[in-house]
Each structure stands twice: as structure tokens, then as C-alpha cells.
Amino acid sequence: MRYINAIYTTHQGELVSNEFLLPHFLKAVEVAPVSPEHQQELIDSVRYFLVGERERYVVPGVLDLGSFAKRAAAFETAAERSLEALSQQITLATASTEVSFDVIVTTTSTGSLMPGLSYRLAARLGDRVRSDTMMVDLHVGCTGSMKALKLVGQLDATAANCLVVSVELPSTLINLSSTDVDVWQGNCTFGDGAAAVWLSDRPPQGDMALAMEQLRYVQHARTGLDLIRWGYDDYYTFRLGNENTFNRDVREYITQSLRGIEPAALQSPHWAIHPAGIALLMRLSRKLGMPRNALDASVTHYKRFSNASSASILHILRDEAATAVDGGIINLLTMGAGFNVIYGHVRKER
């Protein structure tokens, strides 16, 4: 059995609200070279996507990133700051131990570095990392952190202490010149965040012991490949295959993937759900008959940090672990490009 012994989190950059972004985004769409009808659609969509009080962290100068070089540099700078913050927490937590990590698996969907995140983290961890530590850098999407947990969970006993790290900086993708509704949905939905998880086979280590009892992975590549994918302008852009049917398609894939789950498991009040979008989550929870408070942690996170891709579910899990009782189950659910759905649960032992 693998246990989650600690979850470290960080946010870097500037905290901005919907209220701050709205006039800037509206100014951008009001000069878009499109028909009046299309422009009204963009205006209505931006207002809808930014409705209510919500915040997110963004890289400095986020509204002035106009080139590949600027965006990639902003990603690298913010990634390094995130890794510095996480490494300080990891180093402090393992200070009086002889722990060295056998495996480091990182994930990011919003940039590409060489050397990768794992090497940059290793360079900061001193003797917590050895020359034979396995270091792997994944490029996935919103399901990246759960995939990394699943991967680590399947390693053999030589992987006694492992780190799974998610660094997501989707604010570097914000594109003010787009005339596509789905790109603006991405502009409005995402925020930056990072987290690291210490896993081991020893419950007494670290701050907590969450037994990773189940992680079920369902991929729908044959039919769901085009649901979410990159588009390209001066950098990557978030694109949907069909924005009119997206929510319905995603609900269907998730519902299919959760068939066979014990109804009693769905009734747990503790859920860490990737905040893919509040409308999607709320529809899903009604369809699955989940308790009303099952979404509270995800909604709270979404309002404070927006959708921070694969980092979000780790933040939410940490929050849920703080309030769950010993012996209690915390359900995990995430979904993302591929199309992938990952469902599972951990049991809090302490």
C-alpha cells in the first residue's frame, strides 16, 4: 500500500479577480475584427465566464504577454519560483529524517522546459535526491497529477519514497487577440498553482497517512481525442472540439466511467473533484446523486484559485484531508484532455 504522507502547495504571481479582468477582457473583444453579432457573442460569453466573485493567480504582466518568447520565459520564471517554494517545504519536512526520494514524477500541461521540472527540483533538494533517483517529466493536462499518482502507485517496493509534483501556469496562455469563444473560456477559467505530494509505504512519516486504496483510470482516446486540445497562435491556446456539445459530452464520459461504483461510495461527504467548471460539476453531482456538500471543497477552491489544472485536485485533497475523520474516505475525481476520467479514493489513517 502507498500512502500520501504530505501535500505541499504554493501559488506564485499576482492575485487578480474577475472584477479586475472583466474591463480588460471586454476592451479586447470590443476591438475584435468580427461582425457585430460575433462581437456580441464574445461580449456575452466573457461576461458569463467571469460572472460572480472569483480570483486566480497569474504571472506578472499577464496582459502584456504577446510573443512566444515572453510567454515561455514567464512560464520558466514562475515554474522556478514554484519549485523553490515547494522545495523549501519538502526540505524542512524531511530535515530530521534520512529520507531520500527514489522517484520524482512531475507534470505540467502549460509549458515545456529542458531540463525538465524534475531536474530543477532535484537541484534544490540536496541529499534528498540521489544520482540514481528516477526522474520523469510528464506533459498531460488536468488529469496529470492523478495519472502520476497512479503511475507511482504501480511501482515496485524499491520506490519507497516518491514525489509527485504538479506545476501549472495556464495564465501564460491568456490570449487577448482571439476571436474564438473557447479561447476566451480558457482565458477566463484558469489560474496558476503548484503542489507536491510525498508518497511512501510508511504511514508514520510526514503530516498525514492517506492510504491510496483505489485509482481507476478510463481513457476514451478513440472517441474523445478532439474534445479538448491545443490550438496555436503566438503560443498554445485552449480549444474545444465543439463548444456547443462540450459539457454534455464530458458529462456522458464521466457518467460512463463511473458506472459500477458502489452507490454508498458516492454518498461520502468528502470529495476532491477537479474544478473543471462549476456548471459541469453541479450537473454531474445531481445526476450521480451525490450529497449537496460534496462539491463544497471544489467550489471554494475554484472561487479562490479558479481552475489550476492538475494542481487543483491536490490542493483540494489537502483541504479535505484536514477535515475528514480518521478511517474516513475521500473520493477523488478528475477529467481532462484525452479524454480521460480518473476516479478513486484514499482512506485517511491519520
Binding site: Q40, E41, I43, D44, S45, R47, Y48, V51, G52, E53, R54, N244, N247, R248, I278, A279, M282, R283, R286, V299
Partner: protein, 89 residues
């Protein structure tokens, strides 16, 4: 439901969720001026679909949600009636 019934339902929903302003013509209020939080927008949409018997039909009101910023409650009720009629046709 017809337009009046949808409007009446919306007024009740707003009042029971304690979102109503004290004065004014409800029908002429913009939806987004009364329902201001994203979670409330979704709850309103989902509850309305249930009231209209739309759940599990494969059709939902998500497409109308972006228009809440510009539609009044009366205009929203009109749009829903038109949508429902076009579905039957």
C-alpha cells in the same frame, strides 16, 4: 409552461433564494443583475430545467446562460418558450 408561468417560477426562485431586490418590475430586471454568483446561475438553470421537465432529455439551458447578462427575466421566459417549441417541432 408558458411565458407567464416561467416568469412566476423565476420570481419564486429568486425570492426563496433571498436574491430579490426590494422594488422594481421583476420582469424587466436583467437576470445577471439579480443572480450574480456563478453557483447561483447554475442552480437557477438546473432547477429551471427540472421545473420544465427537461432533465434527461439531452437538452439543457446552458446555451442561454451567456445571455443572462443582456436578457431580462421576461425576455428569458420568451427565449425558453421558443426553445421548447423548436424542440417539439
Amino acid at each position: 409552461m408558458n411565458q407567464e408561468e416561467i416568469l412566476s417560477w423565476a420570481r419564486s426562485w429568486v425570492e426563496s433564494n433571498k436574491l430579490s431586490k426590494d422594488a422594481g418590475d421583476f420582469a424587466r430586471e436583467k437576470v445577471s443583475d439579480i443572480i450574480t454568483q456563478s453557483t447561483d446561475v447554475v442552480e437557477f438553470t438546473l432547477d429551471l430545467e427540472e421545473a420544465l421537465g427537461m432533465e434527461d432529455t439531452g437538452f439543457d439551458l446552458d446555451a442561454l446562460a451567456p445571455k443572462f447578462a443582456t436578457l431580462t427575466f421576461a425576455e428569458l421566459a420568451d427565449e425558453i418558450v421558443k426553445l421548447a417549441q423548436s424542440r417539439k417541432a
